[in-house]
Symmetry: C2
Subunit: 342 residues, 2 copies
DNA sequence: TTGAAAGCGTTACCAT
DNA sequence: ATGGTAACGCTTTCAA
């Protein structure tokens, strides 16, 4: 059933039917009711492509992930962010278009996206440090919001992020307070902006206490079990191994944990571990300690905010760049053990 | 730059330019070259919506997840499947449309999708037992492939799945061989088809050895850390606690592990744990044991297969239902401990 | 308050 | 081998 057929059934023009359906004020209320009823009855729903062609809007938001960081999708956090956005999109009549963009021809890809009119706006996932995509998108005049930030980009842009630096600074301070002096950081790829910020937080905490940093204790790679396992095993074999480990993701922490087991050590006794993104931290117990960072539900919330922000921006193109820094509270559980002897 | 402008620049008709660009055989090779060159130079790329309107194809594949199982997205496996599909889509010129469909008006939603012409085909994620969506989609004549299967659906449909039953049967048998008699299953929601199959595998293994099943040892819920933690803690307080645990997901296993810690027990000594989806199992060591199930890269591969299958189906609507049962090998590492005493 | 017709950017049919 | 034109399904002037 299309508009033409529906209007014929009703003995009205396509124009009137369209207006009735789209809430234009000039149609008689009785007519509108009749049209709405018929639309429901005949199961009419407008063809999005045709609407798009006619209006120039696609009612679709693109989520772009660089193929170079596709492994990031593996992060549970990512799924939650998407789920949150999806909620808002469906409420406001938007669709979500997913694409992986190869780094080589980013500019071209975005240009095409715009040209093809496939999306009204974009969400940029997994920004790198000094991410070139932001400049391209600004230049193109395409509305977009960045999930995360990109240090080094001076132009204004909209973003939503959690306070990665502060959370890692706090986590480090907490371990220092417990008496740890050999604290390792198992970070994500430091070309990623969030990883850089986490590292900064870690470094600031150490410097403020006058603790020397040790490059051997700072590892950076994809956040997978395999990597967490490998790096931890490696560090535990040092002459002066870490007594505490900051794991940058729930997934890599699984590997950290296994490496500790394999070394015959006990977590929380021989090695303390603080894990980012661990939902279990909600289960407060005597040994919990508050750290500010992302929780699963807060990430979902971030997705919602991001979606709302972008839709606003699309409908108010004159708006300035907006941003939100979310300070969600995470509680780290008992795997954070006591200080080492001496 | 649109087709009209491009054709004017070239002094050709829109028809010819279109044909040249789309590889029709009847254009002179010299013309085609000239057109291609100009298209490149002027950065022309066709408007997808207009193409869609004209051809009736949208070159878009929809991935649908029921909102009721949105937490599934949190599973790393999910991200990998999507990443794999995405690869194939972009190769073959397809876009990926993501949507969460509320269970209430599924039928309506699909009907609309079809009517709106927003997708050429669908991938159904997270099928339930006897999933009604399959019937609806068949009836609608919309090409689709199910990621997973749905027991109880008698009509033929295309699907791709891993051998969940066999993997859990094997894992259980392995634990039985080690001497375990109190084996717990921490399963996903048993309304989900994959969870049902895993349960079946577990039960078959027990029955074949004449081991009585204990409802107390069979838990089923969302696969989160919190749930894994809660159920494990609960079971460890039984008079006759489990000596081994089968965890249905990487994420819930994190909770399992913490509960074991909190109980003052040691994994691999007091309690053996086999975890599904653990990439670390790739790291073979002396105590590894082969279990057949999904690994991360095999899931990505499944996504690729699924995408290819669907695209074929779209282009060959007469084809019968196709399906693939993937038998990827997973190796479980040292967290699988020795048999309990006695 | 309603309707006719033009227009959005393609493809596809029918000529030439 | 190329071009004219209708058609896709909607929105939006402009008229009535």
């Amino acid at each position: 059933m299309n508009l033409k057929e529906l209007s014929e059934k009703l003995g009205l023009s396509q124009t009137t039917v369209s207006r009735a359906l789209n809430g234009y004020p000039e149609v008689k209320e009785a007519t509108r009711l009749r049209v709405m009823e018929a639309a429901r009855q005949f199961n009419y729903s407008p063809n999005k492509r045709a609407m798009g062609l006619a209006t120039g809007k696609s009612m679709t938001i693109g989520h772009v992930i660089p193929t170079s960081t596709q492994h990031e999708m593996v992060n549970p956090v990512f799924g939650d962010f998407v789920a949150g956005s999806l909620e808002v999109y469906s409420q406001r009549g938007y669709d979500m278009l997913f694409s992986a963009v190869p780094d080589e021809d980013e500019a071209q890809t975005y240009r095409n996206m715009q040209r093809k009119g496939s999306v009204d706006g974009l969400v940029l996932q997994g920004p790198q440090v000094n991410d070139a995509r932001i400049g391209i998108l600004r230049e193109l005049g395409m509305p977009f919001v960045v999930h995360g930030r990109s240090s080094g980009v001076s132009d204004p842009y909209s973003w939503i992020d959690v306070n990665n630096k502060r959370s890692f600074q706090r986590a480090t301070e907490f371990l220092l307070d417990l008496g740890h002096r050999r604290i390792a950081l198992i970070n994500g790829l430091e070309s990623m902006d969030f990883a850089q910020r986490r590292r900064d937080g870690y470094l600031v905490a150490l410097h403020e206490r006058g603790i020397a940093t040790d490059p051997e204790l700072m590892r950076s790679s994809e956040m997978t079990e395999v990597y967490g396992h490998h790096e931890t095993r490696d560090m535990l074999q040092l002459d002066d191994p870490p007594t505490a480990i900051l794991a940058s993701s729930l997934i890599s922490a699984i590997g950290v944990r296994r490496a500790i087991d394999e070394a015959g050590l006990v977590m929380g006794r021989d090695v303390s571990v603080i894990t980012h993104d661990d939902e279990l931290s909600y289960l407060k117990n005597g040994q919990d300690v508050p750290i500010f960072t992302a929780t699963r539900s807060s990430v979902r919330d971030a997705g919602r905010h991001c979606a709302a922000m972008l839709i606003d921006q699309i409908n108010n193109p004159t708006d300035d760049a907006k941003f939100e820094l979310l300070e969600a509270e995470l509680v780290v559980g008992r795997s954070t053990g006591p200080a080492p002897q001496g």
